[in-house]
Symmetry: C2
Subunit: 216 residues, 2 copies
């Protein structure tokens, strides 16, 4: 019997998932959590589950952090990502964090069953979503994953700056808010233009929103 943990803040979805998974031959839901933090606490007093079905967008501790924690603390546990996010950045980040598969929340139940079977039997579930990214990675390792790569290279100040970018404040006002010289803010902007391969403030704002640095 393969034990499964669900980590997702959508309780309604989770409730449905429990029923579905328990109806699958050989799988059993042994744990549920609203977010990564709750999972790390609950798992302390239990045996680690074989598979964790992990959402990305969650409060307190999101899927990115949680997958890293699992990789470091529960090496036997395999992560299957279940997310709404279909963008390269999310998929790549989770795969780099050790996820064994990635399926979308609007998948058909059969896909879902296939994924669980595959991860149990072979350790991985390689669907089109994942294989496309992997192929792209092999062929374009240098240029690939620009968003995810850039995201990891951001300093704390740059992240804070990107949040201010998505407001209607001028750079001078942002400098005041961050207690920095307007010139430093200028440098932040120019560096981010290069890092993120954009040319305008709107480009920065779009990046920040797309990568959930700000939530609108």
């Amino acid at each position: 019997m393969t034990s499964v943990a669900l980590v997702d803040d959508h309780e309604l979805l989770r409730t449905g998932l429990v029923a579905i998974i328990n109806s699958f031959e050989g799988f059993k839901v042994v744990m549920e959590a609203n977010n990564g933090k709750q999972f790390t606490e609950k798992v302390k007093s239990k045996t680690a589950p074989d598979i964790v079905l992990l959402d990305i967008t969650m409060p307190v501790m999101d899927g990115y952090e949680t997958s890293i924690w699992i990789k470091n603390n529960l090496p036997q546990t395999k992560v299957l990502v279940l997310s709404m996010l279909e963008n390269d950045t999310a998929i790549i980040r989770m795969l780099k964090n050790g996820a064994r598969g990635y399926i979308l929340k609007d998948s058909k139940p059969k896909v879902f069953k296939d994924a669980l079977d595959s991860i149990r039997d072979s350790g991985y579930f390689i669907n089109e979503l994942v294989s496309n990214k992997l192929m792209h990675y092999i062929n374009h390792e240098d240029v690939f994953d620009s968003d995810a790569f850039a995201l990891n290279s951001l300093s704390e100040n740059e992240t804070t700056f990107l949040k201010w970018i998505c407001t209607e404040k001028t750079y001078k006002e942002i400098a005041d808010e961050m207690c920095l010289s307007p010139r430093t803010i200028d440098t932040y902007r120019d560096n981010l233009f290069k890092k993120l391969d954009v040319k305008t403030r709107v480009g920065l704002a779009i990046f920040a929103i797309k990568n959930s640095i700000v939530n609108i």
Copy 2:
């Protein structure tokens, strides 16, 4: 027995919902659809359901359109919105389109049961989400719902312009793309500043993204 239809493109969620609803005393799922269009076609050959559980973000025909269609074609059918969107615009738009209740996808199952009971028994489900908007509507009818109101007042050219706003093109380049004088583009921008109560291009971009005029 109260008949329920599910209109949601997330098949996994829907599968879970069917099980949950059928487990509720007195409710039965009689129809499922991936989007509004499919619902309108399926419902032709059947008796109209008592309650439609309706998502907003769907392909082909979204929840906004579908709720209007239901109001016009199935006056006996009551719509309960089940969405991830928590913003004023979405809630208000759906209520104006005749929805009887609005719950979030991350609600607990009990909330979900309460909503169905309430709509069956009283015709409405007024939770905090809805009552807050209603109260606000009563007290600030003039200024209220600025996003939704503004959204409806946009011309086709203004909508197109907002899409271009979320790129890195200059206004002059946007003028070329739209085959208009740069001065006209200036006027569009200035009008939108007033309509949408923003002061900068970043403000326009955020509005466009928040209201799904552009998908990033």
